[in-house]
């Protein structure tokens, strides 16, 4: 991230999905989804349960191939890339899993050091310092020697975020970051995501259906609909609330206000 890049007003496209379909065998979850994620966006993938949010995230992170369509990451065709190139692309992407996905047999420091030892050329001392920095960034300074089983759910997510940040990713994917957190921890995590987005310039792609988070942190979004299996709304979540393109988006963003009125 250069200073010039940070200061430039025009944003480049980080992720470009074209006509993506997500399916498990014959069971289609999502059809012909096309969207773009711009640099430094906090891009929200939202929708009701079972609409394919997490499956779409699995496609974006290379954990499953899309049934059709292509995904470009930083201008490189991710879906057509060979495993080596794909691995290189993924080194510039961090992933925060729903439960943190920390390795239970490793301390927090070892968890965060793992990608650094694997993919960087830093000295051991430098790696230890970087680990402490990453933990300090997520508010877990001093927790280096703790095991995942010794910390709370919210702290596990923060530690997961620290591990996802280890290699200074350009893109950070988050799967339901607020799930299972109390409102205060959830807000703190949202604040942290915004702070990291603004200070590091990291692009965030977040799968969530937490309305408070969507409106607080989202700069751009897509709304997936389980019934039509398509993207039913695109844009800034606040704008979508003001001008909902259809009832599905309106109902979702207002928690079905019209039906209960």
């Amino acid at each position: 991230m250069t200073k010039d890049e940070h200061e430039q007003s025009g944003k480049s496209i980080k992720i470009k999905a074209t006509d993506i379909s997500v399916a498990y065998g014959d069971f289609v979850l999502l059809e012909n989804a096309s969207f773009e994620v711009k640099e430094r966006d906090i891009f929200i993938i939202m929708g009701g349960s079972g609409c394919g949010k997490s499956s779409l995230l699995r496609c974006l992170t290379g954990l499953m191939p899309p049934a059709t369509g292509s995904i470009e990451i930083s201008g490189v065709d991710f879906t057509a890339a060979d495993p080596l190139s794909r691995n290189k692309i993924m080194q510039k992407c961090g992933i925060l899993y729903q439960g943190g996905a920390l390795f239970s047999s490793m301390t927090l420091a070892e968890n965060i050091a793992l990608p650094l030892e694997q993919y960087s050329h830093y000295s051991k001392k430098m790696i230890a310092e970087l680990v402490s920095l990453k933990l300090a960034l997520v508010g877990l300074a001093g927790f280096e020697d703790f095991y995942p089983s010794e910390i709370s759910g919210g702290m596990k997510k923060r530690a997961g975020l620290a591990r996802a940040l280890a290699l200074d990713p350009d893109i950070l994917y988050c799967d339901e970051p607020s799930a299972g957190l109390d409102p205060i921890s959830s807000k703190l995590l949202d604040d942290l995501i915004m702070e990291l987005n603004q200070s590091l310039g990291t692009t965030f792609v977040i799968v969530t259906h937490e309305l408070a988070s969507i409106f607080t942190i989202g700069t751009n979004s897509i709304f997936l609909d389980a019934e039509t299996k398509r993207i039913m709304g695109k844009g800034n979540p606040q704008d979508l609330l003001k001008n909902p393109p259809n009832d599905a988006v309106f109902n979702f963003l207002t928690r079905g206000k019209d039906e209960n009125a």
Binding site: M1, K3, M126
Partner: protein, 370 residues
């Protein structure tokens, strides 16, 4: 990367020039702060007009500089950094929650011995309570009052019966074969190779069939019980059963124990047959014994008490394997690692208890003259 410092009037200016990407050779913040202290400098500012691209390697230097500077009462002026860098360092310096210190100190020998003794006593009591729970559940099961699903019992039975036939047949055949080979080496010296048939028949029927079966089933089914129930513990399914008031020994343990106790004798009979066939393969093809002769000596060596002793062993082993698998599964921790530990412990302890039980039962049978 270029790093310069210029000092004037108790103030140092650090000029950051060029790119700071994967920078492994930044100056040590600790040495830097120590030098400033020596020179009585109490303020640090930054000049970043020519700063290019940067990553965490620069942030880590600035973070430690700010942290150590604050501790040494040196004013590190972060406001002179680019806005995003300043925010990042401030974010890292903000400590939300301080961890409680972990107790890593070693206990004195006697205290440690006492603690270990208490742990062993507690574990023994826990095992006794577990076996007591199984016996109570078994009584309820016999009265058809145990809370369990028939499908779970049938599923467990299916898993430890016909699905195990392949591995049991193969291993037992090989054991019979090895037993015949080993016996033949000695017996051939006396021209008594015909007694290979008797050796294999008695060996397999009385103990080898059952013990091999026990080892196979401990590795196959006992491990599977510990892993399945351990994963249920991780997923809080066992907590759900407890809060529903369903006895876990009824619901999880009894279907597994009964199915293994039922399956083991049948598998042992299969193992006996396969072992005898393995011995016959060596006797007939290598030692040149005719099939009729081999069968005759095998039949002469077969005794009902050997057969029933073998079956009794297998029932005891079935109980031990299932009980160990379920016990370690239920007492598994809450993470992925614990499931692996539970599985290992289940297999190891099942084999150890099987050997202990074999020793005790052998003495009893000897005393009783069976």
């Amino acid at each position: 990367m270029q790093f310069e410092r210029t000092a004037e009037n108790n103030k140092v200016t650090i000029t950051l020039r060029g790119d700071y990407i994967a920078c492994n050779n930044a100056p040590s913040p600790a040495h830097f702060i120590a030098d400033l202290k020596k020179e009585n400098i109490n303020k640090v500012v930054f000049s970043t007009k020519e700063l290019g691209a940067w990553d965490s390697s620069l942030v880590v230097f600035l973070f430690y500089l700010a942290k150590l500077g604050n501790a040494a009462d040196i004013d590190i002026n972060l406001k002179t950094l680019p806005k995003n860098l300043e925010r990042l360092i401030n974010l890292a310096l903000k400590v939300d929650r301080k961890p409680q210190s972990k107790h890593l100190s070693r206990l004195p020998f006697l205290e440690s011995l006492g603690e270990h003794t208490l742990v062993i006593i507690e574990a023994s009591l826990k095992s006794i309570r577990f076996v007591k729970g199984i016996l109570k559940s078994f009584v309820r099961f016999c009265k058809s009052k145990a809370i369990m699903r028939k499908v779970d019992f049938l599923f467990a039975l299916e898993d430890c019966t016909y699905k195990a036939v392949g591995i049991v047949s193969l291993v037992s055949f090989m054991v019979g074969l090895i037993l015949a080979f080993v016996g033949a080496i000695q017996l051939k010296a006396f021209g008594a190779q015909i007694y290979v048939a008797s050796l294999v028949a008695i060996g397999m029927l009385r103990i080898m069939g059952a013990i091999m079966m026990g080892i196979i089933m401990a590795g196959r089914t006992g491990a599977s019980y510990a892993a399945t129930i351990g994963t249920m513990q991780v997923n809080e399914e066992i907590d759900a059963l407890k809060t529903m008031g369903i006895p876990i020994s009824d619901f999880l343990v009894i279907p597994r124990i009964t199915s293994l106790i039922i399956a083991m004798p049948f598998l042992t009979i299969l193992a006996d047959i396969m072992g005898i066939l393995g011995g016959a393969a060596v006797g007939i093809t290598i030692l040149g014994i005719s099939p009729q002769e081999y069968w005759q000596y095998t039949r002469d060596a077969l005794a009902f008490n050997d057969f029933f002793v073998g079956l009794f062993y297998s029932i005891v082993y079935g109980f031990i394997i299932a009980a160990c698998g379920c016990y370690y599964g239920i007492n598994c921790g809450r993470d992925a690692d614990s499931v692996g530990i539970a599985t290992t412990r289940a297999v190891v302890s099942a084999i150890v208890w099987m050997i202990v039980a074999t020793g005790i039962l052998t003495v009893i049978f000897e005393v009783l003259g069976i």
